[in-house]
Amino acid sequence: MDIRPQHVQLATALPKRLLDFFRKYPPPALTQGLSAAETHASAPPAASLDTPALASSTSSADPNAPTIETPSAALAERPYRNPFQPTKNFATGKWNSPVFGLRRQADIVKLAQKHGVVDLLPYTIKLPGEREKRRIERGLRVKGTGVGERVKGKAWERTLKGRLEERRNAMLAMPQMIEDWKQRGHGRGWKKWPK
């Protein structure tokens, strides 16, 4: 309850784009906190507190308040889906693209950074410091060289060993072959022609 005035203040200061975003995708921390409160209290007063404080604060000014509340209530029941990450449809087994592309993710992160609400955003690779963290984690490793990873390589690379072995054996047998060839009249009686 004590954080509510802060959120009201935030909501009035935030640009429309961020507000729309938070209205549609309330911060997971807030919704989780609410769902936990609901499970603990399991009483109507908890539900009467609007899901995201931001949405409620804006809804007080908006005439269409009930239209906002209904999706937020539905969101509290459903598992949270990060709009910045692809989701798998388990019915079809196919992957759905993120709601926001990387360019729009970066836009929103930059905007949120400007207004100091980056912490409320769901996880995205565009978050400040995220790229550097990955760089440190992965270092300068070459893809395909880690544990359990294999490099397929080109066909000539995969067959190179066998071909070199064959060539080596052929060269080892070459003096004897030339000797046979000379004995058989320089190819007159030769039977084994290559295909």
Binding site: R163, M177, R188, P194
Partner: protein
């Protein structure tokens, strides 16, 4: 229609027996026996035996 007369000579391919895939193309009389000779193979950098490849039916 009469078939086209066969030429007196044929182009043949002499394969390196060093199994390098290197080959030389030569012309020989059709009735001549298959060619075979010692030639330089640049891949193994040696003189090796080259034998005529059997010509497949087209």
């Amino acid at each position: 229609m009469a078939k086209k007369a066969k030429s007196r000579t044929v182009m043949v391919r002499l394969l390196s027996m060093a199994m390098t895939g290197y080959f030389r193309s030569m012309m020989r009389p059709r009735q001549h026996r298959p060619l075979s000779m010692l030639k330089y193979d640049p891949i193994v950098r040696k003189k090796v035996l080259f034998l005529e490849q059997k010509r497949g039916g087209k």
